[in-house]
């Protein structure tokens, strides 16, 4: 079953003083995310990621199209009870302490009264919020601590589906690692995670599948391995001996020379030709290593296609 399905979901905003100028924030988006998947929604700033999340959360109404969440609609409170949401750069009631805030959200989410205190404590512990900070007012929290509180409120009521808008924002490297582990553990618990990010290494490390969006338009969707393999492979060749360098350069390849050692990255299709030259020039071949295309390569290629890239 799909946890999320969108059907030509589209959003125009009216801009200008008289609100007469429509601006398309999201072009018709059709997307399916099966249950139990970690799904990355990638795009540069202003690509339409947050608009998509707000549409899915029912915070803004679509201009056209529709979406289904856990086979229902977001307007249904029973569906909303099963989802968690971390907004981008979250801001909370800063006159509350972390414990008070989470208790309030637990009440609103329908966590039974007898369970609230234990659930709040265990969730704050899970997101790594220091024990002496939980009774401090949120106005005294750093950005990273607020992000942890944000993640805590999204998972507090043990939702089936978690939406995270830029969850690593404001976190230091250790914090990012912890959040990555936490997202992976949510998947282990059978939950579906939909998260938006522009940090590609996070998506590559975590996601089963990703979608790439730019200028409000879906540019690609699929498994990370499928996407990167679609770019075709390159090979890194390392050799010793300068006699072959001019001939390799003549093939249009760049060389990096460090002392007697030379390196060059060549397309797989050109490998035999390069190796023949090296043998002919009596160069000593030290290594031939495949260079895997990264999600970043795919991402940049998709952004370069149509519309001239990121906005």
């Amino acid at each position: 079953m799909n946890a999320i399905a969108t059907f030509a979901l589209e959003k125009f905003y009216l801009t200008g003083f008289w609100r007469k100028h429509p601006k398309q924030a999201l072009k018709p988006l059709t997307l399916e995310v099966p249950e139990g998947e970690i799904f990355g929604y990638l795009g540069p700033n202003g690509a339409g990621k947050t608009t998509t999340l707000r549409l899915l959360m029912g915070l803004v109404k679509p201009t056209a199209g529709s979406s289904k969440i856990l086979n229902g609609t977001i307007e249904d409170p029973a569906i909303r009870a099963q989802i968690g949401f971390l907004p981008e750069q979250p801001y909370f009631y800063d006159y509350l302490t972390a414990v008070e805030l989470l208790t309030y959200y637990a009440q609103l989410s329908g966590v039974p009264a007898g369970e609230r205190q234990r659930r709040v404590a265990s969730t704050l512990d899970r997101v790594g919020l220091a024990k002496d900070a939980v009774h401090t007012q949120l106005r005294k929290f750093s950005k990273g601590m607020l992000q942890r509180v944000g993640i805590a409120q999204a998972i507090l009521h043990q939702p089936k589906l978690v939406f995270l808008d830029e969850p690593m924002s404001g976190l230091d490297p250790i914090g990012r690692r912890e959040v990555r582990d936490l997202i992976a553990s949510l998947k282990d618990e059978g939950k579906t995670v939909f998260f938006s990010t522009h940090i590609l290494s996070d998506a590559e490390a975590l996601c089963d599948r990703v979608a790439i969006v730019a200028n409000g338009e879906l540019r690609g969707v699929g498994a990370v391995a499928e996407m990167t393999s679609s770019l075709g492979g390159n090979m890194e060749v390392v050799w010793e001996g300068e006699g072959a360098n001019e001939a390799i350069k003549a093939l249009g390849r760049e060389l990096r020379v460090a002392g007697a050692i030379t390196r060059s990255v060549v397309p797989e299709s050109m490998l035999n030709q390069v190796l023949d030259i090296l043998r002919a020039k009596n160069a000593r071949i030290i290594s031939v290593t495949p260079v895997r295309a990264t999600l970043e390569d795919y991402f940049l290629q998709k952004l370069a296609q149509t519309s001239g890239g990121a906005d």
Partner: protein, 256 residues
């Protein structure tokens, strides 16, 4: 139940706001000042104290209702705190009702304490309670009903405009409502388009003047039971309509 949780959180927000305490301190200073003024006048000490005391409670109560009320909804949207509430099993109308009851609860507690201050001042001046003091109590209740109404239309404005626009509109509504008796007189005597506008305005703006019995009770005049019932019914109906309109607007609103 969720309405209660939202109301409790709104109440907590208000009581942790310093602006509230500043206004309450000013209200007590006003009551204290009227006590001093009463002592330097001859024969009208009680009248002056009741009049000024009720005016202080009403003025500062309405200020609190407007200043906190304008941010009730718009601040939640601007700061995006509403995101993590509305994505839970909370209906938008429940959110509006919860916010409204939270502020009304805050105003009830404030009015209670300011009323206690006025009665302590009365006791200090007259050394006893009189039967006429019951009517002072009713006048304080009417002042609270004014705040209930002011909160409702402030919240309505807050559901579709910025805090500053809401404050201006709410203040205008309150001032016009304070002269609603004159507006009714105008609608009765005017003709043509003026009559149409005056009649519409007389029924749209709240009848705040009907809830102001300060001068009468200061003179020791009684307030009829029917007046209490009518004013209570009017306040509930008017504020109910305003809150329902706020909920309808909020239901359709896009969160930015």
């Amino acid at each position: 139940m969720r309405i209660g949780y939202i109301a409790a959180n709104t109440f907590r927000e208000a009581v942790r706001d310093r602006v509230l305490y500043n206004l309450i301190v000013f209200a007590f200073l006003m009551i204290g000042a009227s006590l001093v003024l009463g002592q330097i006048t001859i024969g009208v000490e009680r009248e002056l104290l009741v009049n000024l005391g009720l005016a202080a409670i009403a003025f500062f109560g309405v200020l609190i209702a407007i200043f906190i009320g304008i941010g009730l909804v718009s601040k939640e949207i601007d700061k995006r705190t509403v995101y993590t509430v509305l994505t839970r099993p909370v209906q938008r109308w429940q959110f509006i009702l919860g916010k409204y009851f939270g502020l009304v609860g805050t105003l009830a507690v404030n009015t209670f304490f300011m009323g206690c201050g006025l009665f302590l001042a009365l006791l200090y001046m007259t050394h006893k309670f009189e039967r006429a003091d019951i009517y002072v109590l009713i006048a304080i209740f009417f002042v609270f009903l004014q705040m209930v109404i002011v909160t409702s239309f402030t919240m309505l404005f807050s559901s579709f405009s910025t805090p500053i626009e809401s404050a201006v509109m709410a203040f205008c509504f309150f001032v016009i409502g304070s002269f609603s008796t004159d507006l009714h007189s105008l609608s009765a005597s005017a003709k043509g388009i003026v009559k149409v506008f005056a009649t519409i305005a007389a029924y749209v703006v709240p009848n705040i003047s009907a809830l102001n019995v300060s001068t009468a009770v200061a003179h020791g005049e009684a307030v009829a039971g029917a007046t209490v019932a009518l004013n209570l019914g009017y306040a509930l109906l008017y504020s109910g309509a305003m809150v329902a309109a706020a909920a309808l607007i909020f239901q359709r609103r896009n969160m930015k």
